[in-house]
Amino acid sequence: MAENTYLIRGAAILGGEAEDLLIRDGIIAARGKDLHDDDATVIDGTGLVALPGMVDVHTHLREPGREDAETVETGTRAAALGGFTAVHAMANSNPVADTAGVVEQVHSLGRASGWVDVRPVGAVTVGLAGEQLAELGAMADSRAQVRMFSDDGICVHDPVLMRRALEYVKAFDGVVAQHAQEPRLTAGAQMNEGAVSAVLGLAGWPAVAEESIIARDVLLTQHVGSRLHVCHVSTAGSVEIVRWAKARGINVTAEVTPHHLLLTDELVRSYDPVYKVNPPLRTDADVQALREGLADGTIDVVGTDHAPHPSEHKECEWAQAAMGMTGLETALSVVQETMVETGLMTWADFARVTSFTPAVIGRVADQGRPLEEGEPANVILVDPAARWTVDPHKMATMGRNSPFKGKELPGSVVATFFKGHPTVLNGKLNTPYRYAGNYPTPDAAGAVSGS
């Protein structure tokens, strides 16, 4: 049997009719009924849904700098297991990904690992300090081909700087991904400001701190004719503003995390920092508005905001704990639970918000493509009937901070094909894809995480 040929038999393509997919040499060689290839490894797709590999627009891989939290290797293993074939690695590493050198390092680490496409996100400002533009053009022209820029974790709150960033990225078809958080309104903020924070005595993170920045940014985007992406929208009011902006023809896209689609601030009553995240978990009314917004296209994509932390950063007082949750290995299941099983979306819609549109926003060639003949074979097989209980200790990510621990969720990733190579088979990690040709070896960059 040829090593690079796989025949998937009878999988429901995007949840539709069952068909066969023949994968050969990295591309979908054929799609149809009763395909034959004597050389192919046959995979029974009965009962499975075939989807395009998921593309995460918002991942924290922590390397370089916090290899005790996650590495490119462990984070991308988690991504492959979660059904992803591409992730956007956020810039808040140490050193910050604000130069061509750092984004090329992350990019080459991703290639060396070979589990998914690693698309580095460049910082908007030097050191995420919000004072001076980073060399966005150099990052765009680098081998990492950066198109998305974000100071994620910190809001580009200076309106002039935000305006300039939006203008500048037009030169290379970039997008500014904003972490919308008015800093003065959220000084010391610990959780959503509302009925629960009033009782718990935790400093509030008001919805208006997110919404006011989004309102400003969509108007700036319109004014300068650029492209804006709003990270992890978390409030009903934000959905309203994005809806209004789109109706005005403003070029804005928005993302929601799986955790904001399922969890509310009621969980904070436990004071368990596993529920501490930024933006914070909101109310049930917000959760419902986010689901509706994702279903009707106001919110374009799901982004995990996968944020692994070492256990000592969560085993402490709430106020001392780091913000963030892991999400790569639970994203598919949570979106199935909240959007598909509720009847709000079909699997074709799922493919739109987890693959097609994220690839367009990030300008990722060869990802988020239709499952058609001649297209790159980034394909996943999902068993929608599976049920599993989340155990953070069994995950590939180094982070144990999953807010879904102990929860039963639907859907599991049976196989992930990345560039035609099965990185995941039978729900388990297989082998990474190996690039031909020589991209600068990671050793030359002086830092490498072995596989």
């Binding site: 910190i154 400001e193 005595g201 436990s270 000592e312 085993e315 106020a319 913000m323």
Partner: protein
């Protein structure tokens, strides 16, 4: 009751049991030998991450009157100030065989963390956490109110609640753990509570609380009050624009001499004036009010010892607590939790 973490979830039964037990304990304070052997051989740790001499010595006196061994652990000058985590501190105390931990912490929810994790198996008493709760303060306030209310009604205080009593809590509700604990406990005991504060010092979400809210102290007085509870206000709050100046605060929300006279003019001869201390004389309360016969400030301090004796006694020698061996702590590397964004 295994722990005393908040009044929000304290049942009326348990609350009245603490207050009734405190009545018995207060009799001990009237004796020449102010000591009971109830907690002999038990170890109570006062774990204070925030300075509070008043609360600490009150708990210390309470534990000693019950013959417990008391260890005072102040975070300043200890391993905590060298970056030891709450987990490691808790496990260290567990290894030393602490039976109860009285914890004061600047972070809301820290006592809940001690109680909810397997770091330590001791009974946890919240001695004030951040801007969350201060349950023993609310219990001593309720104890003080109940004695007053029972006396007025000519009934025995033991077994009684506070039904019909009108209580105004005035001041910085937003940052006050005392206000929160009082609102929940007074609701449970049947009192009618009105919060009086500048709108800036009330939390978003206060409309869901089981009480009335007013911005006007004089109107609240005119409507009739049986207990005025003045909260401590930090003058520095004016720098964060919570109010324009301490003088304006004092004029609108301070219990000054004019309002003290107003109580007489309005015929409220039995209304008491309470303050959890320490007082800012001239800011939220005038000296005349603080020193008037209506003031219960010192009675509150006295009652605090009785209430804390009751809490320690019920948690440590009550029937509800199982004797379990302290779990052996594993030494961990000292690590400094850092604040990080996603």
């Amino acid at each position: 009751m295994k722990h005393l973490l908040s009044t929000e979830n304290l049942s009326a039964f348990d609350a009245i049991r603490v207050l009734d037990t405190a009545e018995e304990m207060s009799a001990v304070g009237d004796r020449e030998v102010k000591k009971l052997p109830a907690l002999r051989g038990r170890t109570v740790v006062n774990l204070f991450f925030e300075d509070s001499t008043r609360t600490r010595i009150s708990f210390e006196a309470a534990a000693k009157r019950l013959s417990a061994d008391v260890i005072n652990f102040a975070a300043k000058g200890s391993s905590v100030s060298k970056g030891e985590s709450l987990k490691d501190t808790a496990q260290t105390l567990a290894a030393m065989g602490a039976d109860a931990v009285v914890i004061r912490h600047w972070a809301s929810g820290a006592p809940h963390r001690l109680a909810a994790t397997d770091w330590i198996d001791a009974a946890v008493i919240n001695a004030g956490d951040g801007t969350h709760e201060h349950p023993t303060q609310a219990l001593l306030d309720a104890f003080t109110m109940r004695r007053h209310w029972s006396q007025l009604n000519g009934t025995k205080s033991t077994g009684a609640d506070l039904r019909g009593m009108r209580v105004a809590i005035v001041g910085d509700v937003l940052h006050s753990r005392v206000a929160r604990s009082n609102v929940w406990l007074l609701r449970t005991l049947g009192a009618e509570v009105t919060l009086v504060a500048p709108p800036t010092l009330l939390p978003i979400g206060v409309e869901h609380w089981p009480c009335k809210v007013s911005y006007n102290l004089d109107e609240t007085l005119e409507a009739g009050v049986d207990a005025m509870m003045m909260l401590r206000v930090q003058g520095e709050r004016m720098h964060a624009s919570f109010f324009p100046s301490t003088r304006e605060y004092s004029r609108r929300w301070g219990f000054d001499d004019a309002r003290l006279r107003a109580l007489d003019d309005l015929g409220m001869k039995d209304t008491i004036i309470m303050h959890p201390g320490p007082m800012n004389r001239g800011l939220e309360i005038s000296s005349a009010a603080a020193d008037s016969p209506r003031s219960t400030v010192l009675a509150q301090v006295r009652n605090g010892v009785s209430v804390r004796m009751a809490a320690l006694y019920l948690l440590l020698s009550g029937d509800s607590r199982e004797a379990t061996a302290a779990t052996a702590a594993t030494p961990h590397a000292v690590s400094q939790p850092t604040k990080e964004s996603n």
